[in-house]
Symmetry: C2
Subunit: 188 residues, 2 copies
Protein backbone atom coordinates (compact mmCIF):
# COMPACT_ATOMS: atom_id res chain seq x y z
CA UNK A 1 0.00 0.00 0.00
CA UNK A 2 1.48 3.37 -0.99
CA UNK A 3 0.09 6.44 0.76
CA UNK A 4 1.24 10.00 0.75
CA UNK A 5 4.54 10.17 2.65
CA UNK A 6 4.70 6.41 3.08
CA UNK A 7 6.92 4.42 0.76
CA UNK A 8 6.67 0.76 0.06
CA UNK A 9 9.38 -1.37 1.60
CA UNK A 10 10.15 -4.51 -0.34
CA UNK A 11 11.64 -7.49 1.45
CA UNK A 12 13.82 -9.73 -0.69
CA UNK A 13 15.68 -12.88 0.27
CA UNK A 14 19.09 -13.53 -1.24
CA UNK A 15 22.35 -15.40 -0.68
CA UNK A 16 24.66 -13.02 1.20
CA UNK A 17 27.62 -14.57 -0.65
CA UNK A 18 26.07 -13.92 -4.08
CA UNK A 19 23.64 -11.00 -4.03
CA UNK A 20 21.33 -10.64 -7.01
CA UNK A 21 21.82 -6.85 -7.29
CA UNK A 22 24.04 -4.77 -9.57
CA UNK A 23 27.19 -3.27 -8.04
CA UNK A 24 26.79 0.10 -6.29
CA UNK A 25 23.02 -0.29 -5.77
CA UNK A 26 22.56 0.87 -2.17
CA UNK A 27 23.22 3.99 -0.08
CA UNK A 28 23.41 2.11 3.21
CA UNK A 29 23.65 -1.51 4.33
CA UNK A 30 22.47 -2.69 7.74
CA UNK A 31 23.71 -6.04 9.09
CA UNK A 32 22.61 -7.20 12.55
CA UNK A 33 23.60 -10.47 14.28
CA UNK A 34 24.49 -12.08 10.92
CA UNK A 35 28.29 -12.37 10.67
CA UNK A 36 28.51 -14.43 13.88
CA UNK A 37 26.60 -17.20 12.04
CA UNK A 38 28.89 -17.34 8.99
CA UNK A 39 32.11 -19.23 8.52
CA UNK A 40 33.28 -16.83 5.80
CA UNK A 41 32.39 -13.40 7.12
CA UNK A 42 34.96 -11.52 5.05
CA UNK A 43 33.60 -12.98 1.79
CA UNK A 44 30.11 -11.84 2.82
CA UNK A 45 31.37 -8.34 3.66
CA UNK A 46 33.15 -8.05 0.32
CA UNK A 47 29.93 -8.99 -1.50
CA UNK A 48 27.97 -6.45 0.59
CA UNK A 49 30.62 -3.86 -0.26
CA UNK A 50 30.19 -4.61 -3.96
CA UNK A 51 26.49 -3.64 -3.92
CA UNK A 52 27.16 -0.53 -1.78
CA UNK A 53 27.52 2.81 -3.57
CA UNK A 54 30.86 4.60 -3.44
CA UNK A 55 30.67 6.87 -0.40
CA UNK A 56 27.89 4.71 1.04
CA UNK A 57 27.95 3.37 4.59
CA UNK A 58 27.56 0.04 6.32
CA UNK A 59 26.34 -0.58 9.87
CA UNK A 60 27.22 -3.93 11.42
CA UNK A 61 25.96 -4.97 14.86
CA UNK A 62 27.34 -8.18 16.35
CA UNK A 63 27.35 -9.65 19.84
CA UNK A 64 30.24 -11.24 21.69
CA UNK A 65 29.28 -14.25 23.79
CA UNK A 66 32.63 -14.00 25.59
CA UNK A 67 31.46 -10.67 27.05
CA UNK A 68 28.79 -12.32 29.19
CA UNK A 69 28.99 -12.53 32.98
CA UNK A 70 26.50 -12.54 35.78
CA UNK A 71 25.79 -12.61 39.52
CA UNK A 72 25.39 -14.94 41.28
CA UNK A 73 28.04 -16.76 39.30
CA UNK A 74 28.13 -20.55 39.36
CA UNK A 75 30.27 -23.18 37.69
CA UNK A 76 27.20 -24.90 36.18
CA UNK A 77 25.82 -21.57 34.91
CA UNK A 78 29.13 -20.69 33.25
CA UNK A 79 29.43 -24.21 31.86
CA UNK A 80 26.09 -24.17 30.02
CA UNK A 81 26.70 -20.66 28.73
CA UNK A 82 30.01 -21.96 27.34
CA UNK A 83 28.05 -24.83 25.72
CA UNK A 84 26.33 -22.19 23.57
CA UNK A 85 29.73 -20.84 22.52
CA UNK A 86 31.14 -24.34 21.83
CA UNK A 87 28.11 -25.46 19.81
CA UNK A 88 28.24 -22.33 17.65
CA UNK A 89 32.01 -22.72 17.12
CA UNK A 90 31.58 -26.34 16.05
CA UNK A 91 29.18 -25.14 13.35
CA UNK A 92 32.10 -23.10 11.98
CA UNK A 93 30.73 -19.80 13.33
CA UNK A 94 32.26 -17.15 15.57
CA UNK A 95 30.07 -16.34 18.59
CA UNK A 96 32.81 -14.01 19.95
CA UNK A 97 33.02 -11.97 16.75
CA UNK A 98 32.08 -8.62 18.35
CA UNK A 99 35.58 -7.89 19.65
CA UNK A 100 36.95 -8.52 16.14
CA UNK A 101 34.58 -6.17 14.34
CA UNK A 102 37.15 -3.41 13.93
CA UNK A 103 39.88 -5.51 12.23
CA UNK A 104 37.25 -7.43 10.24
CA UNK A 105 35.66 -4.27 8.76
CA UNK A 106 39.11 -2.82 8.06
CA UNK A 107 40.19 -6.09 6.49
CA UNK A 108 37.17 -6.10 4.19
CA UNK A 109 38.28 -2.72 2.87
CA UNK A 110 35.86 -0.33 4.57
CA UNK A 111 37.22 3.12 5.44
CA UNK A 112 37.03 5.33 8.54
CA UNK A 113 35.77 2.37 10.56
CA UNK A 114 34.36 3.24 13.96
CA UNK A 115 33.33 0.57 16.45
CA UNK A 116 31.48 1.31 19.70
CA UNK A 117 30.32 -1.05 22.44
CA UNK A 118 26.59 -1.43 23.18
CA UNK A 119 26.17 -2.65 26.72
CA UNK A 120 23.22 -4.48 28.25
CA UNK A 121 23.44 -4.37 32.05
CA UNK A 122 20.46 -5.70 33.98
CA UNK A 123 19.60 -5.51 37.66
CA UNK A 124 16.29 -5.49 39.50
CA UNK A 125 15.72 -1.80 38.74
CA UNK A 126 15.02 -2.90 35.13
CA UNK A 127 12.21 -5.48 35.39
CA UNK A 128 11.43 -5.39 31.65
CA UNK A 129 15.03 -6.34 30.82
CA UNK A 130 15.03 -9.02 33.53
CA UNK A 131 12.12 -10.63 31.73
CA UNK A 132 12.92 -9.91 28.09
CA UNK A 133 16.70 -10.06 28.14
CA UNK A 134 17.74 -12.53 30.86
CA UNK A 135 14.79 -14.91 30.64
CA UNK A 136 13.45 -14.59 27.10
CA UNK A 137 16.71 -13.94 25.23
CA UNK A 138 19.71 -15.29 27.15
CA UNK A 139 18.22 -18.33 28.90
CA UNK A 140 16.02 -19.13 25.86
CA UNK A 141 19.11 -19.01 23.63
CA UNK A 142 21.04 -21.35 25.94
CA UNK A 143 18.06 -23.74 26.14
CA UNK A 144 18.10 -23.88 22.33
CA UNK A 145 21.39 -25.80 22.30
CA UNK A 146 20.53 -28.31 25.04
CA UNK A 147 20.21 -31.36 22.78
CA UNK A 148 23.22 -30.39 20.70
CA UNK A 149 25.34 -29.94 23.85
CA UNK A 150 24.18 -33.24 25.39
CA UNK A 151 24.77 -35.07 22.08
CA UNK A 152 28.30 -33.69 21.95
CA UNK A 153 28.75 -34.69 25.63
CA UNK A 154 29.88 -31.16 26.48
CA UNK A 155 27.81 -31.46 29.66
CA UNK A 156 25.64 -34.02 31.43
CA UNK A 157 21.90 -33.67 32.01
CA UNK A 158 22.27 -33.06 35.76
CA UNK A 159 24.75 -30.18 35.29
CA UNK A 160 22.52 -28.82 32.52
CA UNK A 161 19.48 -28.63 34.79
CA UNK A 162 21.52 -27.08 37.60
CA UNK A 163 22.98 -24.53 35.16
CA UNK A 164 19.53 -23.46 33.94
CA UNK A 165 18.34 -23.11 37.54
CA UNK A 166 21.44 -21.05 38.36
CA UNK A 167 20.95 -18.74 35.37
CA UNK A 168 17.40 -18.08 36.59
CA UNK A 169 18.90 -16.85 39.88
CA UNK A 170 20.45 -13.95 37.95
CA UNK A 171 16.86 -12.83 37.24
CA UNK A 172 16.00 -12.75 40.95
CA UNK A 173 16.21 -9.55 43.08
CA UNK A 174 19.90 -10.02 44.04
CA UNK A 175 20.92 -10.94 40.50
CA UNK A 176 22.69 -8.98 37.78
CA UNK A 177 23.56 -9.74 34.16
CA UNK A 178 26.00 -8.20 31.69
CA UNK A 179 26.32 -8.65 27.92
CA UNK A 180 28.00 -6.52 25.31
CA UNK A 181 27.43 -6.10 21.58
CA UNK A 182 29.40 -3.94 19.19
CA UNK A 183 28.18 -1.50 16.56
CA UNK A 184 30.53 -0.91 13.64
CA UNK A 185 30.24 1.80 11.02
CA UNK A 186 32.29 1.96 7.84
CA UNK A 187 32.44 3.85 4.53
CA UNK A 188 33.05 2.54 1.02
Amino acid sequence: VEKEGIQNVQFKMADIMDLNFPSESFDHIFVCFVLEHLSHHTAALRELKRVLKRGGTITVIEGDHGSCYFHPESEAGKKIWNCLISCQKRLGCNPNIGRELYPILEGAGFKDVEVTPRVVYVDQTKPLLVDRFIKKTIIAMVEGVKEHALDLELVNEETWEKGIKDLHKTAEPEGTFFYNSFKGLGFK
Copy 2:
Protein backbone atom coordinates in the same frame (compact mmCIF):
# COMPACT_ATOMS: atom_id res chain seq x y z
CA VAL B 1 47.24 28.22 50.48
CA GLU B 2 43.83 29.88 50.47
CA LYS B 3 43.08 32.32 47.64
CA GLU B 4 39.90 34.01 46.59
CA GLY B 5 37.54 31.35 45.24
CA ILE B 6 39.91 28.55 46.09
CA GLN B 7 39.24 26.48 49.20
CA ASN B 8 41.75 24.39 51.02
CA VAL B 9 41.34 20.66 50.55
CA GLN B 10 42.61 18.64 53.47
CA PHE B 11 43.72 15.07 52.92
CA LYS B 12 43.35 12.78 55.91
CA MET B 13 44.19 9.12 56.24
CA ALA B 14 41.94 6.89 58.29
CA ASP B 15 40.88 3.27 58.77
CA ILE B 16 37.82 2.73 56.54
CA MET B 17 36.45 0.30 59.14
CA ASP B 18 36.72 2.85 61.98
CA LEU B 19 36.56 6.44 60.70
CA ASN B 20 37.63 9.15 63.09
CA PHE B 21 34.70 11.46 62.22
CA PRO B 22 31.40 12.12 63.96
CA SER B 23 28.27 10.53 62.46
CA GLU B 24 26.54 12.51 59.69
CA SER B 25 29.62 14.60 58.84
CA PHE B 26 29.65 14.56 55.03
CA ASP B 27 27.34 15.54 52.15
CA HIS B 28 28.88 13.10 49.69
CA ILE B 29 31.26 10.16 49.83
CA PHE B 30 33.34 9.07 46.84
CA VAL B 31 34.85 5.57 46.78
CA CYS B 32 36.87 4.43 43.77
CA PHE B 33 38.54 1.01 43.29
CA VAL B 34 38.55 0.41 47.05
CA LEU B 35 35.92 -2.25 47.88
CA GLU B 36 37.56 -4.80 45.55
CA HIS B 37 40.56 -4.80 47.90
CA LEU B 38 38.61 -5.45 51.10
CA SER B 39 37.46 -8.74 52.56
CA HIS B 40 34.63 -7.05 54.51
CA HIS B 41 33.16 -4.57 52.05
CA THR B 42 29.76 -4.38 53.76
CA ALA B 43 31.31 -3.41 57.11
CA ALA B 44 33.23 -0.64 55.32
CA LEU B 45 30.08 0.61 53.59
CA ARG B 46 28.16 0.70 56.88
CA GLU B 47 30.92 2.78 58.46
CA LEU B 48 30.92 5.12 55.44
CA LYS B 49 27.14 5.37 55.76
CA ARG B 50 27.49 6.33 59.42
CA VAL B 51 29.55 9.42 58.61
CA LEU B 52 27.26 10.40 55.69
CA LYS B 53 24.55 12.98 56.37
CA ARG B 54 20.91 11.89 56.10
CA GLY B 55 19.91 12.59 52.48
CA GLY B 56 23.57 12.54 51.45
CA THR B 57 24.88 10.47 48.56
CA ILE B 58 27.61 7.95 47.93
CA THR B 59 29.37 7.22 44.64
CA VAL B 60 31.16 3.89 44.36
CA ILE B 61 33.22 2.95 41.30
CA GLU B 62 34.54 -0.60 41.10
CA GLY B 63 35.95 -2.71 38.28
CA ASP B 64 35.14 -6.30 37.40
CA HIS B 65 38.13 -8.35 36.28
CA GLY B 66 35.74 -10.99 34.92
CA SER B 67 34.56 -8.45 32.34
CA CYS B 68 37.88 -8.43 30.51
CA TYR B 69 38.35 -9.90 27.04
CA PHE B 70 40.53 -9.14 24.08
CA HIS B 71 41.59 -9.89 20.52
CA PRO B 72 43.64 -11.75 19.55
CA GLU B 73 42.68 -14.12 22.32
CA SER B 74 45.16 -16.74 23.49
CA GLU B 75 45.14 -19.42 26.17
CA ALA B 76 48.34 -18.03 27.73
CA GLY B 77 46.97 -14.48 27.68
CA LYS B 78 43.75 -15.58 29.39
CA LYS B 79 45.71 -17.71 31.86
CA ILE B 80 47.90 -14.88 33.14
CA TRP B 81 44.92 -12.50 33.32
CA ASN B 82 43.20 -15.14 35.46
CA CYS B 83 46.34 -15.25 37.65
CA LEU B 84 45.57 -11.65 38.61
CA ILE B 85 42.04 -12.68 39.61
CA SER B 86 43.25 -15.74 41.54
CA CYS B 87 45.98 -13.83 43.41
CA GLN B 88 43.52 -11.14 44.46
CA LYS B 89 40.95 -13.74 45.57
CA ARG B 90 43.56 -15.55 47.67
CA LEU B 91 44.17 -12.29 49.53
CA GLY B 92 40.49 -12.41 50.53
CA CYS B 93 39.46 -9.73 48.04
CA ASN B 94 36.85 -9.68 45.29
CA PRO B 95 38.27 -8.64 41.92
CA ASN B 96 34.89 -9.33 40.26
CA ILE B 97 32.96 -7.08 42.63
CA GLY B 98 31.62 -4.71 39.94
CA ARG B 99 28.72 -6.97 38.93
CA GLU B 100 27.69 -7.20 42.61
CA LEU B 101 27.63 -3.47 43.26
CA TYR B 102 23.85 -3.20 43.09
CA PRO B 103 23.04 -5.89 45.70
CA ILE B 104 26.00 -4.80 47.86
CA LEU B 105 24.87 -1.15 48.04
CA GLU B 106 21.27 -2.24 48.67
CA GLY B 107 22.46 -4.68 51.32
CA ALA B 108 24.41 -1.94 53.10
CA GLY B 109 21.16 0.02 53.42
CA PHE B 110 21.55 2.69 50.75
CA LYS B 111 18.36 3.83 49.02
CA ASP B 112 17.42 4.46 45.37
CA VAL B 113 20.57 2.67 44.26
CA GLU B 114 21.45 3.11 40.61
CA VAL B 115 24.31 1.22 38.98
CA THR B 116 25.58 1.94 35.47
CA PRO B 117 28.36 0.28 33.50
CA ARG B 118 31.43 2.25 32.45
CA VAL B 119 33.02 0.59 29.44
CA VAL B 120 36.58 0.86 28.21
CA TYR B 121 36.86 -0.41 24.63
CA VAL B 122 40.16 0.07 22.85
CA ASP B 123 41.13 -0.40 19.23
CA GLN B 124 43.78 1.24 17.05
CA THR B 125 41.63 4.35 16.54
CA LYS B 126 42.42 5.24 20.20
CA PRO B 127 46.25 5.30 20.40
CA LEU B 128 46.27 7.06 23.78
CA LEU B 129 44.17 4.28 25.32
CA VAL B 130 46.29 1.61 23.62
CA ASP B 131 49.28 3.06 25.45
CA ARG B 132 47.76 4.14 28.75
CA PHE B 133 45.09 1.51 29.25
CA ILE B 134 46.33 -1.71 27.60
CA LYS B 135 50.06 -1.26 28.18
CA LYS B 136 50.38 0.96 31.24
CA THR B 137 47.32 -0.18 33.20
CA ILE B 138 46.27 -3.71 32.22
CA ILE B 139 49.62 -5.30 31.35
CA ALA B 140 51.38 -3.41 34.17
CA MET B 141 48.74 -4.68 36.62
CA VAL B 142 49.20 -8.28 35.44
CA GLU B 143 53.00 -7.95 35.64
CA GLY B 144 52.58 -6.86 39.25
CA VAL B 145 51.45 -10.35 40.33
CA LYS B 146 54.11 -12.33 38.43
CA GLU B 147 56.10 -13.44 41.48
CA HIS B 148 53.00 -14.16 43.53
CA ALA B 149 51.53 -16.28 40.70
CA LEU B 150 54.78 -18.20 40.13
CA ASP B 151 55.17 -18.78 43.90
CA LEU B 152 51.63 -20.17 44.03
CA GLU B 153 52.43 -22.32 40.95
CA LEU B 154 49.35 -20.97 39.18
CA VAL B 155 51.46 -20.80 36.02
CA ASN B 156 55.00 -21.62 34.91
CA GLU B 157 57.58 -19.07 33.77
CA GLU B 158 57.37 -20.08 30.10
CA THR B 159 53.58 -19.67 29.93
CA TRP B 160 53.92 -16.38 31.82
CA GLU B 161 56.33 -14.94 29.25
CA LYS B 162 54.15 -16.15 26.36
CA GLY B 163 51.07 -14.65 28.04
CA ILE B 164 52.71 -11.23 28.40
CA LYS B 165 53.82 -11.36 24.75
CA ASP B 166 50.27 -12.29 23.72
CA LEU B 167 48.71 -9.47 25.75
CA HIS B 168 51.02 -7.04 23.94
CA LYS B 169 49.52 -8.25 20.64
CA THR B 170 46.20 -6.74 21.73
CA ALA B 171 47.98 -3.35 21.59
CA GLU B 172 49.04 -3.90 17.96
CA PRO B 173 47.01 -2.56 14.98
CA GLU B 174 44.75 -5.65 14.70
CA GLY B 175 44.15 -5.84 18.45
CA THR B 176 41.20 -4.83 20.60
CA PHE B 177 40.61 -4.77 24.35
CA PHE B 178 37.48 -4.58 26.51
CA TYR B 179 37.07 -3.91 30.23
CA ASN B 180 34.07 -2.79 32.23
CA SER B 181 33.74 -0.93 35.52
CA PHE B 182 30.54 -0.03 37.34
CA LYS B 183 29.49 3.25 38.90
CA GLY B 184 27.00 3.00 41.72
CA LEU B 185 25.08 5.84 43.30
CA GLY B 186 23.05 5.58 46.51
CA PHE B 187 21.26 7.81 49.03
CA LYS B 188 21.23 7.64 52.83
